[in-house]
């Protein structure tokens, strides 16, 4: 049945040797079956957050008093998102974005993502490619809010991207890093 034609020999004996391909095909089929069964089709990903806890002071470095940075505070209210830029305790600007009523299964806020980008363009302080830090966002979520809502807001927060130099390579990174307000 299975054979590979290796051409027509013109010499004394035929070079038309039959290689039995059946075990080979069997092996291939078994490998395909095994790999299909063990394949992972749904890959999990992660969405990053940072607790912004300062490490122990480095004794080799001198402590320089820093002026507090502008931080974006995101308040998730029942009907709107309140985006407030604060520098220390000074409120620099405040914007309200209506919170659309969603299908409850998979919430997503594309309008909020656009607003985040606009806000960062006006107020963001880390825009240079060489700048290794990103702007900070603090998320204020109500205690009874489902986790998926938080992730939806986080997803919107990480939608705007900027270029950053990492190890002589320019990579696209989200413009914000998020932390929870622990109150």
């Amino acid at each position: 049945m299975g054979g590979v034609d290796v051409g027509d020999g013109k010499g004394k004996r035929s070079t038309n040797a039959d290689i039995n391909m059946i075990p080979f095909i069997d092996l291939l089929m078994v490998t395909v079956a095994f790999l299909l069964i063990t394949a992972v089709w749904v890959t999990n990903s992660r969405i990053n957050a940072n607790a912004q806890i300062p490490g122990p002071p480095d004794p080799t470095k001198e402590i320089t008093p820093k002026t507090p940075e502008k931080v974006l505070n995101v308040n998730i209210e029942a009907e709107e998102f309140v985006l407030t830029w604060r520098q220390g305790s000074v409120v620099a600007s405040e914007v309200k974005v209506p919170r659309p009523t969603q299908n409850q299964e998979k919430p997503s806020y594309p309008d909020l993502a656009k607003k985040f980008e606009e806000e960062w363009n006006t107020h963001g302080s880390h825009k240079n490619v060489d700048d290794q830090t990103v702007d900070q966002a603090v998320l204020h979520a109500r205690d009874n809010m489902p986790f998926k809502e938080i992730v939806a807001v986080l997803d919107a927060l990480y939608t705007p991207k900027r270029e950053m130099k990492i190890d002589n390579d320019v990579a696209k990174v989200p413009v914000f890093n998020m932390t929870f307000s622990i109150r």
Binding site: A39, N44, A49, I53, S108, V151, I182
Partner: protein, 189 residues
């Protein structure tokens, strides 16, 4: 043509049992014109050769594709009870301790690490989780004293969990020395 089907019968001891493969249809009828008729007047060879090359090529490509996508370590088991939230802007999972919240129970890399019952209504610290994570951090530092500690922990939390529980676990992990907390999500829209 008749010889083709009857040759060497006398010399072959198995001839009456095993016949040379070939045309069988009506070959018992010892009439040449019948055979000729059956065999299509000798117009084409009855020996059809199935070309397997394309089939083997296809199988090989499939094997190579599956081998390249094969990842033995990337498989992180998510308990059936946990439905992860979906997010678009997510990164790949890295090797880090996984804190999963299954109902009220907290697990660190599959090992029980306390209950989240105490933080269901009030933000607080889960002491057992704190201790488990702290031990892990100390172990890591003992094993790799010269490397900076990455401080990454991945939280595997159901999408319906209340924010207060998420915040408590987050806070506990941060206090235990893991400031870079990631949430595990399913990538997609």
């Amino acid at each position: 043509m008749a010889d083709r089907y009857q040759n060497n019968r006398e010399h072959n001891p198995h001839a009456h049992v095993i016949h040379k493969p070939g045309r069988r249809l009506m070959h018992k009828i010892p009439l040449r014109f019948v055979w000729r008729k059956v065999h299509g007047m000798g117009a084409r060879s009855p020996n059809a050769n199935l070309n397997l090359t394309a089939y083997i090529d296809f199988l090989l490509v499939t094997v190579i594709f599956l081998l390249t996508t094969f990842n033995a370590s990337g498989q992180i088991s998510v308990p059936k009870e946990i439905t992860l939230p979906t997010a678009e802007n997510a990164e790949d999972v890295i090797d880090a301790p996984i804190v999963s919240l299954d109902g009220n129970q907290v697990f660190v890399d599959g090992q029980y690490a306390g209950s989240a019952k105490s933080v269901e209504d009030r933000l607080g610290r889960i002491d057992e989780l704190f201790a488990a994570l702290k031990t892990r951090r100390e172990n890591w530092k003992t094993l790799q004293p010269n490397k900076p500690f990455p401080g990454v922990v991945i939280l595997q939390i159901d999408q319906e969990t209340k924010a207060v529980v998420v915040k408590s676990v987050f806070q506990t992990a941060a206090y235990a020395g893991y400031p870079n907390v990631s949430f595990m999500v399913t990538k997609g829209k």
